[in-house]
C-alpha cells in the first residue's frame, strides 16, 4: 500500500479562501464588519505525480473549495499553487486554458454536470475543437474512442444526457475531461450520488484509466471506505484546514489526529458483530463563520487542553510520510494524554 514516491506535481502552500457570508442588510447598514466563511485556511498539500490523493472530511470542511481553487474556479485569497514551475494562481488567458487542459475536474452531480441541451457527441466535440485536440475530420473518430474508453457504445454520441443513467452520465463527465488528455484529474465526489453497484463500476473505470493514461488523481469524497480503497495517500480536512496527511495505511490503521480517529470510528462498520454503544464523537461541526481559536477541533476533541485554544497547531511531519496538525504530537508535550488508537 505504498504511494509511488514521486516529486510533487501540484504544490499547495498556505492556500486561504474566504467567502463573504450572506449578511443581513441591517448589519451592513450599521457598518458592522462583514462576516466571512473561512472555507480554506492556510492549506499546505502536495500532490505527487501518478498518485491518487484522497481528501476526506465532514461536509463544509472545504474539500470542494480546495478542488475548485486548484482548477481556478475560485480565486484564492492567499497562498500559492505551483504546477511544475508554473504559478497557477497567476495564470491568465491562454496560459490558464493550457493549465486547465492539463488539470481537469470531474463533478459530483450526475444530473447537473452535463448541459441538458447538448448531445454527448456535441459535448465531447466541443472540448476537442476548442482546444484543437484533433483536426475536425478526426473528431468523430476521437469521440467514439473516448466513449469506448469510458465503456459507452459509439451510439451514445447522439443521445442527450437525460437518456442515460447516473453512472453512465458520470462516465460521460469523465470522457469530457479525458478529451483534453489531462495529467491531473480532480474528482469531486465523483461517485457519491451513485448506488454501490454502479459506484463500483465507475471506480473500476477510474482505476483502469489511471493505470492506462498515467493520471494523477485528486479524489475528494466522504466515503472513507472508498477513499481507503483508492488512495495512495489521504488528506483529512477539518473546517478549512488539513489536519492530517499520510499514506493510506497510516491514516486508516494508525490515525494520529483525534479528529481522524473520531471520523474513522463514526464510519459504520460492515460487521454486525462490531457495534459500538456510544457515539464516536459528540457535538456538531462549529459554524465556519465562527471557527474556534487555536485548534479548530478543540470544541469536540476529547483531548483538548489549554494550548489548543490559544495556539494553532501546524502540520508537522511525524515520520513515515505522516503529517499531523495536533499539539498532542508537538513538544512541549502536555500532561501525558496520549492519543488513543482505536
Amino acid at each position: 500500500m505504498s504511494a509511488p514516491e514521486a516529486p510533487a506535481l501540484l504544490n499547495v502552500q498556505g492556500l486561504t479562501k474566504t467567502f463573504a457570508a450572506r449578511q443581513g442588510l441591517l448589519s451592513r447598514w450599521r457598518g458592522q464588519p462583514g462576516k466571512v466563511v473561512q472555507a480554506l485556511s492556510d492549506v499546505h498539500l502536495q500532490v505527487r505525480r501518478g498518485e491518487t490523493l484522497g481528501i476526506v472530511g465532514e461536509s463544509g470542511c472545504g474539500k470542494s473549495t480546495l478542488a475548485r481553487c486548484l482548477v481556478r474556479l475560485y480565486d484564492a485569497d492567499h497562498g500559492t499553487v505551483r504546477y511544475g514551475d508554473q504559478d497557477v494562481l497567476a495564470l491568465k488567458g491562454a496560459a490558464l486554458r493550457g493549465y486547465n487542459r492539463r488539470v481537469q475536474m470531474i463533478f459530483q452531480d450526475p444530473y447537473s454536470s452535463l448541459n441538458p441541451r447538448m448531445t454527448v457527441g456535441q459535448v465531447l466535440k466541443e472540448a476537442l475543437s476548442v482546444h484543437r485536440m484533433r483536426p475536425p475530420a478526426e473528431q468523430d473518430a476521437r469521440v467514439s474512442e473516448l466513449l469506448s474508453l469510458v465503456g459507452l457504445p459509439p451510439e451514445a454520441a447522439r443521445r442527450l444526457p437525460h437518456e442515460f443513467s447516473g453512472g453512465q452520465r458520470q462516465r460521460i463527465g469523465i470522457a469530457r475531461a479525458l478529451a483534453l488528455e489531462p495529467e491531473v484529474l480532480i474528482a469531486d465526489e465523483l461517485v457519491s450520488a451513485l448506488d454501490v453497484s454502479v459506484q463500483a463500476q465507475v471506480v473500476n473505470l477510474l482505476l483502469e484509466l489511471q493505470e492506462r493514461l498515467d493520471l494523477t488523481v485528486l479524489f475528494v469524497a466522504h466515503d472513507l471506505r472508498l477513499v481507503r480503497h483508492l488512495s495512495h495517500r489521504v488528506a483529512v480536512m477539518y473546517l478549512g484546514r488539513v489536519v492530517e496527511v499520510a499514506p493510506t495505511g497510516a491514516v486508516f490503521e494508525a490515525p494520529l489526529h483525534p479528529y481522524t480517529q473520531a471520523l474513522l470510528a463514526a464510519a459504520p462498520s460492515l460487521d454486525p458483530s462490531q457495534r459500538r454503544a456510544a457515539p464516536a464523537i459528540t457535538g456538531e461541526l462549529p459554524s465556519p463563520l465562527n471557527v474556534p481559536s487555536g485548534c479548530a477541533f478543540r470544541t469536540r476533541c476529547p483531548h483538548a487542553f489549554d494550548r489548543c485554544a490559544t495556539e494553532r497547531p501546524l502540520l508537522q511531519d511525524v515520520g513515515g510520510g505522516q503529517e499531523v496538525a495536533c499539539h498532542l504530537y508537538t513538544a512541549p508535550s502536555p500532561v501525558g494524554a496520549g492519543p488513543q488508537h482505536p
Partner: protein
C-alpha cells in the same frame, strides 16, 4: 442489540403489498407482492438500490400515496388493515401510532413554521396538549433528541438549525405522539458520518426506551450492519431476501444480496478492481420475465427465467427468492 420479542403477535404485518403508479410512459409497477412482519421493538432494515421501491413501500404503509397511485394488499396494524381504514380512523393511527421521518430534513420540515409549532401541532392532534403544557413537552422532546438549550430552540425555524439538528427535530416531531412504530426513510443519508452515527444511536436508544418498532430504509449496508436486527433486501419492487442481520452479511442467500455486499469497496485488496453488479436496475414499466435480477446475475440459469421465484423460507428466520440460494458462497471476511 436487543432481540425481537418472539411469540407475541407482530406489531405490523404486510401482506401482498402491491403499488402501481400510472406515468405518461406507462404504468409503473413499483411494489409487487411484498410480505413482511415486524415485531415490537424490532429494527428492520429495508435495503436495495435506488429505485427498488423502498420509499414507495414505506409510504404505502401509511397510505401516503396520492390519488392516481393504486395500492393493494393488506397492512395490518393491531388487527386493522390500514389500507381500507376510513380516513378519520386512519388519522388516529398516522402520527399517533406510527410515526415517520424522512431523508432530507430540510425539505421535510415546513420552512415557514417554527420547530416548536411543528412539534406542538402533533401534540395537539394526538395528545390534546396545548399552551404551556405543549411547550414543556416539546422542549422535553427536543432535549430527548439531544438538542442543546431546547426551550429557546423551539422558537427557531428549521433553516436556523444545522443538518443534524434538523434531523433530530424531525425525530422529535415524530416522537411527540409516542408512536409504537417509527418508519424512517433514509434518515441519515444527507448527514455526515459523525452525525449519522449520533442519530442512529439516538434511534436505537429510543427504541430501547420506548420499545418502539423501527423500519429503517437505507441503501448503506454499513448502517444496516450497525443498526438493524433484521434486513429485507429489495430489488425491482420485490423483497429478494429477509434475514437476521448477521445471517445476511455472513450467508447471503440471494445472488443480489451477495452482489451488493461484494461490490463494496474494502472487501477486496487496495486499488484492485471492485466487483460491481453489472448493468443497472430494471425498468419497472417493462419487467423481464422470471427473476428480475437474472439479467444482471452471474449465477443465472434457465431456471431463473420461467416464473418469478417466490420468497421462500430457506433457513430459520431466513427467506430468499433466489433459485440458486444454496449455490451461493458465503461472503468474504468483511473488514473496516
Amino acid at each position: 442489540m436487543s432481540a425481537p420479542v418472539t411469540g407475541a403477535a407482530p406489531l405490523l404485518t404486510v401482506r401482498d403489498l402491491d403499488v402501481r403508479i400510472p406515468t405518461p410512459g406507462g404504468e409503473l409497477h413499483a411494489v409487487r407482492g411484498v410480505n413482511f412482519e415486524l415485531a415490537q421493538g424490532e429494527v428492520l432494515g429495508l435495503v436495495g438500490e435506488s429505485g427498488s421501491g423502498k420509499s414507495v413501500t414505506l409510504r404505502s404503509l401509511l397510505r401516503l400515496h396520492p390519488a392516481p397511485i393504486r395500492v393493494a394488499g393488506e397492512v395490518l396494524y393491531q388487527g386493522e388493515n390500514l389500507l381500507t381504514l376510513p380516513e378519520a380512523r386512519l388519522r388516529a393511527v398516522r402520527g399517533a401510532q406510527i410515526g415517520m421521518i424522512f431523508q432530507e430534513p430540510m425539505t421535510a420540515l415546513n420552512p415557514v413554521l417554527t420547530v416548536g409549532q411543528q412539534i406542538m401541532e402533533n401534540l395537539l392532534e394526538h395528545k390534546g396538549l396545548r399552551g404551556r403544557a405543549a411547550q414543556e413537552r416539546a422542549a422535553e422532546l427536543l432535549d430527548l433528541t439531544g438538542i442543546p438549550s431546547p426551550r429557546t430552540r423551539l422558537a427557531d425555524y428549521p433553516h436556523q438549525f444545522s443538518g443534524g439538528m434538523r434531523q433530530r427535530a424531525m425525530i422529535a416531531i415524530a416522537l411527540a405522539s409516542e408512536p409504537k412504530l417509527l418508519l424512517a426513510d433514509e434518515p441519515t443519508t444527507a448527514l455526515d458520518v459523525t452525525i449519522q452515527d449520533q442519530i442512529l444511536r439516538l434511534l436505537l436508544r429510543l427504541r430501547d426506551e420506548m420499545n418502539m418498532g423501527l423500519i429503517l430504509v437505507t441503501h448503506d449496508l454499513g448502517v444496516v450492519a450497525q443498526t438493524c436486527d433484521r434486513v429485507a433486501v429489495m430489488y425491482g419492487g420485490r423483497l429478494m431476501e429477509t434475514a437476521g442481520v448477521r445471517e445476511l452479511f455472513e450467508h447471503p442467500r440471494h445472488a443480489y444480496s451477495l452482489g451488493l455486499i461484494r461490490s463494496l469497496p474494502g472487501v477486496g485488496a487496495h486499488r484492485q478492481p471492485l466487483r460491481p453488479i453489472p448493468g443497472g436496475p430494471p425498468d419497472l414499466r417493462r419487467l423481464p420475465d422470471g427473476c428480475t435480477f437474472a439479467p444482471r446475475c452471474s449465477y443465472s440459469t434457465a431456471a431463473c427465467l420461467g416464473a418469478e421465484p417466490p420468497l421462500l423460507r430457506v433457513a430459520p428466520q431466513h427467506d430468499s427468492a433466489c433459485v440458486h440460494y444454496d449455490r451461493l458462497p458465503a461472503t468474504l471476511e468483511v473488514s473496516l
